[in-house]
Amino acid sequence: MKVGGKMVYEALLVPVWFYSYSSVVYAVTALVSFMISYFSFRLYRMSSLNMNLMMMLTFVFMGVAFSILAATSYYTYMSSNSFKLYENLYGVVKYGFMGYYTLSLVAYILLTVMYLPRKFREKLFVAYMPLWYLDFTAFHIISAILVGYIAIMNLVNFMKKRKIDSLLVLIAFVMIELSHVMMLLTQFDAVLYLVAHAFLVAGFASLLTMLIRVGRK
């Protein structure tokens, strides 16, 4: 089914019924992101250290991005039952996905900057990216590169520390990386879209477990 424009085509690549499930997946990942950002905010208020502020902003951007995606997915699902909603589907999907792509990349860039050596980090890191040109493929390729770098840095961290908390963060970023790779492969098999969502949930479940462990002690 092609309503018009590439984005809508991409959005309708999978069966419409799955959008009700995917909106729940995105809502859960948004919730976990907001929980991490709130934890970072509390640490920032307590310590006044800029890294806490950066971590908070990263997960706020991620949370808002996933909230937008949850709303877009839910709208797509609802539009299958209503002609009135279906009429506006193109605009909602276009701006919904654009918002998700932009905010997610900002979050990933912030996170990548945190892993850069201090001497690079302290000089302002300016990344020029033609965000208005982002489409499904470009977004997932750039995300896979950035998250891949973060996952490698987490692997190095785990090899050094050998702690469960660092293992959980490593698992989380490997899962998020796999979800982006699976999304890229969706054009070959729509089932991979479901697999990508399973990886995404597993990744955020791992982050949530780490947060509970750290927050408890």
Partner: protein, 102 residues
């Protein structure tokens, strides 16, 4: 063959993060009953005079400690400073999990 520079790189102690230095200073003041002189803090936190001054100014500015000037200068830990000390381990674990230096 391992070069001299590489040996010294391997054996040199790990550089303390900014947060660890702040914690060491606050702990030094706290262990002295909540009020300490700069000389005591200098030795307890193992810092040079210039670096100590920089960090003390930062802590005063952020409200973690108060400077008391009379015949002698003292630094007193505040409620915010005590909260930093109790929450530091949680923060350290959080950033250690991510492998990010604070």
């Amino acid at each position: 063959m391992i070069g001299q520079k590489e040996i010294s790189e391997r054996t040199k102690p790990e550089r303390r993060s900014k947060a660890s230095i702040l914690q060491d200073i606050l702990r030094a003041i706290h262990n002295k009953g909540g009020k300490a002189r700069p000389t005591h803090i200098l030795y307890a936190a193992n810092l040079s005079h210039d670096r100590l001054k920089k960090y003390l100014d930062m802590l005063v500015l952020n409200g973690f400690i108060k400077k008391q000037q009379g015949d002698n200068t003292y630094y007193e830990i505040t409620q915010k400073g005590l909260e930093f000390l109790s929450g530091f381990n949680k923060m350290k674990r959080f950033f250690d999990a991510f492998g990010v230096e604070i």
